[in-house]
């Protein structure tokens, strides 16, 4: 007789239980143990127990199963002989005390319906061809997963149904639990763990599937990995579906963002990147009343997985579900992960304000410009998540938790990249940009978004401002120019009537900018000081005296508005007023 094939993996008890050769069985004692089953031994009298070899499945029949004490002796003997398990028919009608002894001794004890010899035959056939059982497991898993659709909660239920005594969790990039059981992540609870990356529709890391289990036989990891792999494609499809829906209807993403901010964005203690903590510590989810009316997206993943899991686990649950099995994870986070929103701080916020039809402030983004802008945005490679309509502008944020980027200014990098993106010729409309942050976590996101939105309001098309460096010129340019244009023109009407080349208007503006000092103004205008003095005389004659305190501010505003309308934008760094020049 030739030796065993070196690649041969014997059937394990777990596989025996889950592959279904034994239907409707009760299992007592430890089934999670790494127990290979290499033989079947039918025992009809107790004396035969002495011949039991290690790793055998001991099937008790006739006299050996006749009474509680014979089965207890068989359990003891099987335990001493290192048998894999003891099988007895339910018809033996054994009291619960026998099963308790199996638990005490730590030997798996299987109570099967019907004829024990029938079970013996089925175990023997499974033992003879362990690969067939394994293939059956994978096939069964594929069937279950195909039937579960693409929703994470249902997929995780299906995984739990096909992987007994194994906890599976779906976590986002920040480690936050999206679906499944937190027990899979507990480092002390489980001894072995398998993780499988789930890529997003664009190939980017989307989420991680983690399976945790106790001392399992060799090969179980590979089986788990294979089964988890079956769930990757549906999860990617889920993310793609969510994103498609979000892009088709911008309000969906906006609503989700509002809800995310309501739940996490204004509370620094509720950070989802602390998801590895006990979920019970997290603040209870807010009720429906805080969900914005348009936020219908999260409901898709609100299903409670536990009910499905319990039903799917109609077969014997070998271990009682550990605490945390029905973990109250936040479906909101799952929706955010599906849409590709970064959830791991620190964050830098980007805001984009298109000038033209893509602006989101005239109601929801149009069906044609929103997707176009989003597509351009995705291609621009700013590193930030997708654009979301928020407070009349488009916002996005990126995770800047880059270990080797430590020490560099993440905001400067973001500003650079956003400027490149905003000046891209392919954008449907000229855009202004702003960056804000960084903030450590979702708790600061709301404030950073507000900063970015305020900053982008004062940015000119094609430029990008940093929210932390908004200066006086930005404040001025933030004025409602369209509204002020007519009054400005009226105030300056006498001047404009005579100012053919605009030199008077420019001189007035510069004089006001520099505090009325003619020599400074002359230097800035590149003319002689006397020219400035002469123009100042004419300005006074036209009723536009920059030294008149009552007129100074209105005139300055009118100049700005009028110049904006007639001249191209002055580069910001040159628009800064010179420092320290005293008024002449």
């Amino acid at each position: 007789m030739s030796g065993p094939d070196p690649g041969f993996r014997p059937l394990t008890l777990t596989e025996l239980l889950q592959d279904g050769p034994l239907a409707d069985i009760e299992v007592h004692g430890p089934v999670g143990a790494a127990v290979p089953v290499t033989a079947v031994r039918i025992v009809d009298r107790l004396a035969a127990l002495d011949e039991v070899r290690p790793r055998s499945a001991v099937v008790l029949t006739a006299g050996a199963a006749a009474a509680a004490w014979t089965v207890e002796m068989a359990l003891r003997k099987a335990w001493e002989q290192a048998a894999a398990c003891v099988v007895v028919s339910r018809e033996a009608g054994l009291p619960g005390s026998v099963a308790e002894l199996a638990g005490r001794l730590g030997i798996p004890f299987l109570v099967v319906p019907g004829d024990p010899l029938d079970a013996a035959v089925r175990i023997a056939s499974a033992v003879a061809r362990p690969e067939a059982g394994r293939t059956a497991l994978i096939a069964g898993a594929a069937r279950q997963i195909a039937g579960a659709g693409i929703r994470p909660a249902r997929l995780l239920s299906a995984l739990h149904a096909v992987l007994p005594a194994t906890s599976v969790a779906l976590t986002g990039p920040a480690g936050e639990l999206l679906a499944g059981r937190a027990g899979a992540l507990d480092p002390t609870d489980r001894t072995a763990r398998v993780t499988v990356e789930v890529a997003g529709p664009g190939g980017e890391p989307l989420a991680v599937l983690t399976a945790g289990f106790r001392d399992r036989p060799a090969g179980w990891e590979a089986t788990v990995r294979e089964v988890l792999g079956l769930a990757v494609a549906p999860l990617t499809a889920w993310a793609a579906t969510e994103r498609l829906a979000a892009e088709r209807d911008g309000r969906r993403a906006s609503g989700l963002l509002a809800e995310l901010l309501a739940r996490y964005g204004d509370d620094t203690t509720a950070e989802p990147d602390g998801a590895r903590r006990d979920p019970g510590e997290r603040r209870a989810p807010v009720g429906n009343e805080r969900r914005s009316p348009g936020a219908d997206a999260p409901r898709d993943v609100l299903e409670d997985p536990t009910g499905d899991e319990r039903r799917a686990l109609g077969r014997a649950e070998p271990n009682p579900p550990e605490t945390g099995a029905a973990d109250p994870h936040d479906p909101l986070l799952a929706a955010a992960v599906a849409l590709g929103w970064p959830l791991r701080g620190p964050f830098v916020v980007h805001a984009v304000r298109p000038f033209g039809p893509a602006a989101p402030d005239s109601g929801p983004p149009g069906p044609e410009t929103g997707p176009l802008l989003a597509a351009r945005w995705a291609r621009a490679g700013t590193g930030a998540g997708p654009l979301i309509a928020y407070e009349g502008v488009w916002v996005a944020w990126e995770s800047v938790a880059d270990p080797d980027g430590a020490g560099r200014d993440p905001l400067a990098r973001a500003e650079r990249r956003l400027r490149a993106a905003c000046s891209e010729p392919g954008l449907p409309a000229p855009s202004a940009g702003a960056v804000a942050g960084p903030v450590a976590s979702l708790g600061g996101l709301g404030q950073a978004l507000a900063d970015a939105v305020a900053a982008v309001g004062v940015a000119r098309p094609g430029t990008v401002v940093r929210a932390d460096r908004v200066g006086p010129a930005h404040l001025l340019t933030a004025l409602p120019r369209e509204a002020l244009r007519a009054p400005a023109r009226a105030l300056l009407a006498p001047l404009l009537a005579v100012d053919r080349d605009g030199s008077l208007l420019r001189t007035l503006a510069v004089l006001l900018d520099v505090g009325g000092a003619p020599s400074v103004a002359a230097a800035r205008l590149g003319v002689h000081r006397n020219t400035v003095s002469a123009r100042l005389e004419r300005l006074r004659a036209l009723g536009c005296d920059p030294d008149d305190p009552g007129l100074r501010l209105p005139l300055h505003l009118a100049c700005r508005v009028q110049l904006d309308a007639t001249e191209p934008e002055v580069p910001e760094d040159q628009a800064e007023p010179p420092e320290g020049e005293p008024a002449g």
Binding site: A47, G63, A66, A67, W69, A74, K77, G93, P95
Partner: protein
């Protein structure tokens, strides 16, 4: 009657000793029928009072060639209280055996020294004016007439004589193996009990197969109190714990066959509960294989209070046949296994085991002959009070 050999004086059992014997003979017998026991006690006391003290023959003083006769109560002890003895039964039975044997008896030996059997043997000796042998044929309680060390030594119970309270005397001469079958219907027909005189044999033969000293041991135990009362039997404690459950057992003790290998050879074998009457007799040593027992097989689960906190399963059918500690055999027939109440150290009857009771399980070793393969086989053939 041969005079005792010279040496130390032979002790004589007096009425005072009877009190101790009565207590000591009952120490290990949990399920003694109270009224029958008192009848036997009164009977023995009356005979002692009428005929004086009875010499107690130690094994080295047995009459070498003199006839010795074993005496016991046959039938249900409860019947003894319903149909009171006339007092003539023992002497009639002994005389009947003497007639068949063709010579006079010189000593009376108890077939077993437990409960009323010891007292009736003493009454017989007193009434017949014979000495009582300090020893018995079992060394522990076993239910069938054939379940004795005499049988193991090749001594047949027949010729045997029964004397009933109605005045009948029946002498039985039988080929081996049919005595129990013949005796039981006779006893039932005659009111439920009879005094049996059996195993007539020479003193020398008796000395070779007797369990010596059991009468004086019972007297000593009866004189002691507390823990010391058990001391003569040298009990070994199996566990101290609490009864956690009492289950009805499927029994199934018959599924142990002869020659079971390894550690299972020490297992009890016995009648199948309930259906036993329909089971054909085996040929084990010529002894009927199965006898119906009045009680149901019972499992008592005891959880250890200390140490490994093992869980003990006590399989009982009339007496405790087997003890498993976490599934491993800890004691079995022919060991005598007793459940003692931890509050008063009395033997607890299995029939009255109640969850929550604090108990100590102790084992008393049977005489060595019972541990031979033949001894185990004979001990397994029946258990329960049918004698």
């Amino acid at each position: 009657m041969t005079a005792p050999a010279a040496g130390r004086p032979v002790r004589a059992l007096t009425v005072d000793d009877l009190e101790d014997l009565a207590v000591g003979a009952r120490v290990l017998a949990a399920g003694t029928e109270e009224s029958a026991y008192h009848v036997a006690l009164d009977w023995a006391a009356a005979e002692l009072a009428a005929h004086g003290p009875v010499p107690l023959l130690p094994v080295d003083r047995l009459p070498g060639t003199g006839l010795c006769v074993a005496v016991t109560l046959a039938g249900a002890s409860a019947a003894l209280a319903e149909q009171l003895p006339t007092g003539e039964e023992p002497v009639r039975a002994v005389r009947a055996v003497e007639r068949v044997a063709g010579r006079a008896a010189e000593a009376v030996v108890p077939l077993n020294a437990a409960a009323e059997n010891a007292l009736i043997a003493l009454a017989t000796a007193a009434r017949c004016g014979l000495p009582l042998v300090d020893g018995d044929g079992c060394g522990r309680v076993l239910p069938l007439l054939e379940q004795t060390l005499f049988t193991l030594a090749g001594v047949a119970p027949a010729p045997l004589a029964l004397a009933t309270p109605s005045g009948d005397v029946v002498a039985v001469e039988s080929a081996r193996g049919r005595v129990e079958d013949l005796v039981r219907p006779l006893v039932l027909a005659s009111g439920g009990w009879a005094v049996a005189a059996a195993y007539p044999m020479d003193g020398a033969r008796l000395a070779s197969c007797l369990v010596p000293g059991t009468v004086s041991r019972a007297v000593a135990a009866g004189a002691a109190t507390g823990r010391a009362r058990f001391a003569p039997w040298r009990p070994r404690s199996l566990c101290r714990g609490r009864i956690v459950a009492v289950e009805q057992s499927a029994g199934a003790y018959e599924n142990h066959e002869n020659g079971a290998a390894g550690p299972l050879t020490g297992l009890p074998g016995g009648p199948a509960g309930g259906t036993a009457a329909a089971v054909p007799h085996g040929t084990l040593g010529g002894v009927p294989d199965r006898v119906p027992l009045p009680s149901r097989p019972t499992s008592v689960l005891v959880e250890e209070d200390e140490g490994l906190r093992r869980r003990f399963r006590l399989e009982a059918h009339n007496e405790i046949l087997l003890v498993l500690a976490d599934g491993a055999p800890a004691a079995s027939l022919p060991d005598q296994i007793l459940m003692l109440s931890r509050t008063d150290r009395r033997v607890l009857d299995v029939e009255r085991a109640v969850p929550g009771t604090a108990v100590e399980v102790v084992v008393i070793e049977a005489p060595a002959a019972w541990y031979t393969p033949e001894g185990r086989a004979l001990a397994r053939t029946g258990s329960g009070g049918t004698r």
